[in-house]
């Protein structure tokens, strides 16, 4: 082993770059709220992308539980004729089914809702989404989404991280890693969670869905919550006001500077900067969350529930405010879309939560000239089955999970408006035109942000990892 002895100084290029991206040292790059001068120069929205970006940021309106495409965005008139027929096993062409319906009869179930053609583009949208229909020409509906997983946990983990098992970075973390933050007083990646109005159990969410995986933990999404502490531990303990906090911080910083004099570790200086930043956040975040200054007209756009903290509508309004302040990736999760049964009761309630606010967000962004630079995406983790789960009781029917096709919509930030992309067969069992895999969505999303999904990589445990693994292609016909 003599020959290896001199390696101590032979740090490889990879190693140093790895170190830099790990943010362990004083030069944490591309980092969340990093006040460090070097990081600022590199990352404060200087447009260092692979190619010119169409979108500066993403607002992802994730609908957790998986909304049914049959009742919302994928009109299937043929089902009126097929309703009640039993599907033979051969129909499924090897598609696996969840343990919940694997053993039952598969009876075709129509949608009980009417669809209309909307806007100049004639987009087909169900009566459950009247406000969305009003902005039909601003959005692009994708009906041919495909995924791998058939259960919530793996499917949502796959959607968020490109992999069904825990451990990979989430898409927002990748965006933060690649582009950094535009605002040094706010995180690059913000998450907000709202409860649906449906009476059904909400599926679980997990910190990993906005986690940073093997990227530096500074890229993980920061959850903004309603209530006293919009960011965890933001407010001072009782008895200490802002002035007192400043005094305590000043003492800490002065003692830290003393310590720096004797030890000389730049990390100590970073800690002082982070303290100053934390102190600024104590003002800037509550100010951000305070929507009392918004006009009546704005609340009319998003709906009355936007006045109630913690609702989806309030979060949509917050999303616009975050977008204005340069947050890179804003992700909303709305829960309660898992309609295995009681769809006629619960789906309209869910749509009531989201319809006006989602459309309002589009309109608001457009009015402010921000829609062009903001990519908005709405959708769930998979689709639902053409057959009813349990009996074919049209007052209480529901649908099981289905991965081969489902619908979502996108708007703004480089996406062609007024387009309906992709086609599914009469049973919405599979795509017949322009299938778009989750990987393709990821690739296209990164493309809009100016990043090549094959080049945005991070080396970990000996391998270059990507959000899209070894898959994914940019769907250019979606691009404006």
């Amino acid at each position: 082993m003599n020959e290896l002895e001199d390696l101590s100084l032979m740090t490889t290029r990879r190693q140093l770059l790895g170190r830099a991206s790990c943010g362990i040292g004083s030069l944490a790059l591309a980092s969340l709220l990093n006040g460090d001068a070097a990081a600022k120069d590199l990352n404060q929205g200087n447009g260092r992308t692979h190619f010119p970006a169409k979108a500066k940021r993403v607002i992802y309106l994730f609908q957790s539980g998986a909304p049914s495409q049959f009742e919302l965005l994928d009109y299937k008139p043929e089902l009126e004729k097929q309703h009640g027929k039993e599907l033979p096993a051969s129909f499924f062409r090897g598609q696996r089914q969840t343990g919940m319906t694997a053993g039952q009869k598969k009876q075709v179930c129509r949608s009980i809702y009417r669809f209309g053609k909307h806007g100049q583009s004639g987009a087909e949208i169900s009566e459950n989404l009247p406000y969305l229909a009003g902005v039909a020409d601003d959005i692009c509906i994708v009906r041919s989404m495909k995924t791998e997983a058939i259960n919530h946990d793996p499917a949502i983990t796959f959607f968020q991280t490109g992999f069904q098992q825990a451990g990979r970075p989430s898409m927002g973390a990748w965006a933060s890693y690649g582009l950094g933050s535009e605002n040094e007083n706010l995180p690059a990646y913000v998450v907000m969670i709202s409860e649906g109005s449906s009476k059904r159990d909400s599926q679980a969410l997990y910190d990993r869905l906005w986690g940073s995986g093997f990227l530096p933990s500074s890229h993980q999404g920061v959850k903004f919550r309603s209530g006293r502490d919009p960011v965890l531990y933001l407010s001072n303990p009782g008895g200490l006001d802002g002035r007192a906090r400043k005094k305590i911080m000043d003492l800490g910083n002065a003692l830290n500077r003393e310590h720096y004099q004797s030890i000389g570790d730049p990390e100590t200086i970073t800690r002082i900067r982070q303290a100053e930043l934390a102190y600024r956040m104590q003002t800037s975040v509550p100010e951000l969350m305070d929507t009392s200054g918004e006009t009546e007209e704005t609340f009319r756009l998003y709906g009355e529930s936007a006045r109630r903290p913690g609702t989806y509508a309030a979060h949509c309004l917050q999303a616009r405010r975050l977008a204005e302040r340069g947050v890179r990736f804003i992700q909303l999760y709305h829960r309660g879309w898992d309609q295995h049964g009681d769809l006629p009761r619960d789906l309209p309630l869910q749509c009531g939560d989201i319809d006006q606010a989602s459309a309002g967000l589009i309109t608001d962004l457009k009015q402010r000239g921000m829609l062009d630079e903001t990519l908005v995406i709405w959708g769930g983790e998979f689709g639902r089955t053409v057959y009813a789960q349990g009996g074919l009781n049209m007052a209480r029917y529901g649908r099981d999970h289905h991965p081969r096709c489902f619908s979502l919509w996108m708007a703004g930030g480089g996406i062609r408006p007024g387009l309906t992309y992709g086609k599914t067969d009469d049973f919405c069992f599979d795509t017949v035109e322009n299938p778009m895999h989750v990987y393709d969505l990821h690739a296209t999303m990164l493309h809009c942000l100016g990043m090549d999904h094959e080049q945005l990589t991070h080396k970990f445990q000996g391998r270059h990892y990507r959000l899209t693994d070894v898959h994914g292609k940019v769907v250019s016909s979606l691009l404006s």
């Binding site: 020959e3 290896l4 032979m10 590199l42 969670i193 909400s202 933990s217 310590h259």
Partner: protein
């Protein structure tokens, strides 16, 4: 790689990393990393991806065809010419690969070929050779480690740094070895000890402290992905803490690393394995387990086995084998077939890979971690005596008695459920045209498509089942829509493995032909009430205590009614036996069930899975084995987990000792000698001090894998004892301290930061082990995200608020938020290096988390009690937190801030009172609130200081 990192570091790289001019190029150091990164994906171990039949990861491959590499003749070597070919179509690597070589890299390759293209096997796959340490005469040197380090420094014209101050040393040692700072008295004692052995005495004291095991366990729990919840979607409570306690105890009794590891990997296979040895195998049952309703179990069973492969190979071999799951590894010499051979070791556990939606569910196999052997022993012998006496008595004729347990209502204390297809409850209906009833006024009913069931568990008075008992229930199958199968299940101590079935064999639970799935015959007659009778023997219920009953069906509609049991009238003696048996069972039931490893017999076959898909097994069957590059398992031994574990600790394995000592090194220097502690493969970083690494590895083996001795060896070195002061010149020459010309300095792990606050305030409850606790966390965190019917967070009180952080309840989907802000991982997968970020979120925790504010408050109270003068109180507080006295500038700052707050709180005493209400620990009413509050504010600053949260 983020492209933007490149530029700013280029300068630094040039400064630091070029081999000196004229220096010899070395394959492992200079060339292999370039080839591995750029060429191996298409010209490496993966035979499927290999292009042009060219293989560059082995010497044979690289020299197989003529003209690729010509020793000494760069111009004739195609490998080189293709790298700077003018035609982009010919140039390597291809443009679409996204890879490219710099001019410097190409020049290195040219030089290497010119110098003869000498090949080297990857260093980590060559067995370490023990070399004598270099012999430098230097007073600085304290042990062998220093010789190796000094040797490097001298070559670079560098000097080691002076020894750190005594205050710094004892604080460093204490935080490193037990994860807690020293007390003021301990610092004083060390300062006052003039003997030559003063330092060593401290080391020995700390290694003997019972907190040493906790500190070591904290690192091991990350590696073992230990958590208190099952993970995935429902993420409900699990009990693995007896395994965690085993780890702490094993460290404390200094179990050799060899035994520590063999017991965790294969304790169940040791001859006459004890409960403790079986318990140790919980290591490979700490993985997440699914409980979502619709999952396909086999899919997750495969994920589980893959997790074991990845964890075991990373922890014990420093290899990332995961890539071999879908295809031959792109970088390491591990084929897909070899991956599945390794997989086969862990593929033989009789598990379901699924747990139910209730707290504390276990998957098979498990052991009961016996609580008090003594107590159980007494009961066992008393029971044996009574049974023997009974057996010797003449048999009495006794009458049989029928008792009804379920009719119109459930037994007291029962917790009802309904799941699968049909209503999500135990649905009783009144008698009507639609609803037949057998006795009383009600029956229970269900209509299912597929699998559905209702039942209950947790009856307050479980029923005792003597031999000869007959269980019964009445069922009415709807003639128009009959089920295809029905099943009865009984619950004994949380386990439902007692089942009887009628009809088709469609319900997936239990094993055919056993008491977990006993076939009673065809479905009963439809359209009438039928009494089902089940002999208790058939479903393994004799002498058991039944506390739950479930009624399960596949498809169809039915009604259930009047269920109970028929048994003999018991003699007083038998009644006593039952009573004792109940006590015994209750004790055993209190003993938590902990998931462990065991082997199926006959073994499950392992096939290579196409693209790693659970549902795509190929015909290629494999036997358990290790990758050829690591050698061979001993001949004539059964290739099982035990053989694998023993091989790891045989002289044959090049990796395990190196990987282990490297992780120890990482604890004391922040970074391992091999920086990529989880990856010793070709893509990992080469060691900074290869000979030192090998010496430590061989020393570890030589000592009999003595873990404490290895920790002592490292901390006794002069290298460890250097000051961590960074001089401007060192900062330029070696910013990352890879050469170790100074002591290292890094932020403490999250657990140590919280524990320190608890310790210095005196709040810490230093009890070892036991069930995990739930201290303060912001309200609603679980509620925001968990599945609706999963229990919400319930905070503990009293002592449980102040236990060491490794006992904090770890929920994988929502890890403890204050620890998470300081980089604690979610434990969803094995973690061998944590990141150490410096973020405002971390600062906010130190400022505002009630844990830290309360600790500041109690610390302030303590100081107020100990010192009458506030200046003394401030000084003592500073010493408690930082283990040293403040200098005059620092003293002035403390006093000035304290004065400010005294004035502030005198003017607003209500604010002082409000601050002192933080946390549940009662306030000392005898103390002046204003004085304590002012000191609390200062303490809040001290506990968050960079010096406090770092080990210096």
């Amino acid at each position: 790689m983020a492209w933007n990192c490149l530029t700013i570091f280029l300068g630094l790289i040039l400064l630091l990393l070029q081999p000196a001019a004229g220096e010899e190029i070395q394959f492992n150091r200079d060339i292999r990393p370039i080839l591995a990164d750029n060429c191996f994906p298409c010209h490496g171990p993966d035979s499927a991806a290999r292009q042009g039949e060219l293989r560059l990861d082995t010497e044979e491959g690289a020299f197989a065809s003529e003209g690729i590499l010509v020793r000494g003749k760069p111009k004739q070597s195609q490998l080189l010419s293709r790298l700077h070919h003018t035609d982009p179509a010919e140039r390597m690597p291809p443009t679409d690969s996204g890879k490219s070589l710099s001019k410097k890299q190409i020049e290195k390759i040219r030089l290497w070929i010119e110098q003869g293209a000498v090949w080297q096997k990857h260093w980590a796959f060559v067995r370490p050779v023990r070399v004598d340490p270099p012999r430098h005469r230097s007073k600085w040197v304290r042990n062998e480690i220093d010789q190796f380090v000094l040797d490097q420094l001298l070559k670079r014209n560098l000097k080691p740094s002076p020894r750190a101050t005594r205050q710094a040393l004892i604080r460093r040692l204490s935080l490193d070895l037990i994860g807690l700072p020293p007390s003021v008295a301990e610092v004083e004692a060390f300062l006052g000890d003039d003997s030559a052995e003063a330092y060593e005495k401290v080391v020995d004291r700390l290694l003997e402290s019972r907190h040493y095991g906790e500190r070591m366990a904290q690192v091991w729990l990350d590696a073992a992905r230990y958590a208190d919840s099952h993970g995935y979607s429902l993420d409900r409570r699990r009990v693995m803490w007896p395994w965690r306690d085993w780890v702490i105890q094993a460290y404390n009794r200094n179990l050799p690393f060899r035994d520590f590891s063999i017991q965790q990997l294969a304790g169940d296979l040791l001859p006459e394995a004890t409960v403790e040895q079986k318990l140790a195998t919980g290591f490979n049952r700490n993985h997440p387990i699914q409980s979502e309703g619709g999952v396909i179990n086999e899919e997750y069973r495969i994920e589980t086995v893959v997790d074991r492969v990845e964890t075991t190979s990373a922890v014990f071999l420093g290899l990332t084998m995961g890539c071999g799951r879908c295809h031959d590894h792109k970088y390491e010499p591990i084929s897909q077939r070899e991956f599945y051979s390794f997989f086969a070791f862990f593929n033989n556990v009789p598990e379901t890979a699924h747990v139910g939606n209730a707290d504390n569910q276990v998957d098979r196999p498990f052991v009961r971690a016996i609580p008090s052997q003594a107590q159980l022993g007494k009961l066992t012998s008393r029971l044996a005596t009574l049974r023997e006496r009974l057996a010797n008595q003449p048999k009495r004729e006794t009458s049989m008695t029928e008792r009804v347990w379920i009719d119109d209502q459930l037994p007291r204390g029962a917790v009802a459920f309904g799941n699968g297809s049909g209503p999500d409850k135990f649905l009783f209906v009144d008698s009507s045209a639609d609803h037949p009833v057998h006795s009383g006024k009600k029956s229970s009913t269900r209509t299912s498509q597929g699998l559905g069931q209702h039942g209950f568990q947790g009856a307050a008075e479980p029923i005792s089942i003597p031999a000869g008992t007959m269980l019964f229930a009445h069922v009415f199958l709807d003639p128009r829509n009959p089920p295809r199968e029905i099943m009865l299940q009984w619950n004994v101590g949380g386990s439902w493995e007692h089942r009887a079935i009628w009809g088709e064999n469609l319900i997936p639970w239990g094993a055919d032909g056993t008491s977990s799935r006993f076939a009673m015959g065809p479905l009963p007659e439809k359209g009438k009430w039928v009494r089902l009778e089940i002999p208790a023997e058939k479903v393994d219920l004799v002498d058991k205590q039944v506390s739950g009953w479930a009624f399960t069906q596949f498809d169809g509609q039915l009604h259930w009614d009047t269920a109970g049991w028929v048994s003999r009238q018991l003699s007083p003696q038998e009644q006593e036996i039952n009573l004792l048996q109940g006590e015994f069972d209750a004790l055993r039931q209190k003993a938590p069930m902990v998931m462990v490893m065991s082997e199926m017999n006959p073994p499950r076959k392992t096939f290579v899975l196409d693209r790693g898909q659970y549902d795509a097994p190929t015909r290629m069957e494999v036997q358990p084995g290790i990758p050829a590059v690591l050698g061979k398992l001993p001949e004539g031994k059964r290739p099982d987990r035990l053989t694998l574990a023993e091989w790891m600790f045989s002289g044959e394995n090049p990796l395990t000792a190196r990987v282990a000592v490297n992780r120890y090194w990482q604890m004391y220097f922040g970074t391992g000698l091999v920086e990529s502690a989880e990856d010793f493969g070709t893509q990992g970083t080469p060691p900074s001090h290869p000979r030192l690494l090998d010496w430590l590895a061989s020393e570890f083996v030589r000592s009999g894998w003595d873990v404490k001795a290895m920790q002592k060896k490292i901390v006794m070195s002069a290298t460890y004892q250097q000051t961590s002061r960074i001089s401007p010149s060192l900062r330029t020459v070696d910013p990352d301290n890879r050469l170790l010309a100074r002591g290292s300095r890094f932020r403490l792990p999250a657990e140590a930061i919280r524990d320190q606050a608890l310790f210095v305030s005196g709040l810490l409850v230093p009890r070892l082990g036991g069930k995990s606790v739930r201290p303060y966390q912001p309200p609603g965190l679980w509620k925001d995200v968990v599945y609706s019917n999963v229990p919400k967070f319930k905070q503990d009180h009293g002592d449980d608020l102040y236990r060491r952080s490794l006992y904090t309840y770890w929920k994988r989907s929502v890890p403890p938020p204050n620890l998470q802000a300081l980089d604690a991982p979610s434990r969803e997968a094995c973690t061998l290096t944590r990141s150490r970020t410096n973020t405002p979120q971390g600062t906010l925790v130190l400022w505002n988390d009630p844990t830290f504010v309360e600790a500041a408050r109690i610390l302030a109270e303590k100081m107020t009690r100990l010192e009458r003068e506030s200046e003394q109180a401030l000084e003592r507080m500073f010493r408690s937190v930082l283990s040293r006295r403040p200098n005059s500038a620092e003293r002035k700052l403390l006093i000035e801030t304290h004065r400010f707050f005294l004035a502030e709180f005198r003017e607003h005493p209500e604010r002082a009172m409000e601050l002192l209400r933080t946390g549940e620990f009662p306030r000392d009413e005898k103390l002046d609130a204003v004085e304590v509050a002012a000191l609390t504010a200062v303490a809040n600053a001290l506990l968050g200081l960079d010096e406090a949260v770092s080990r210096n």
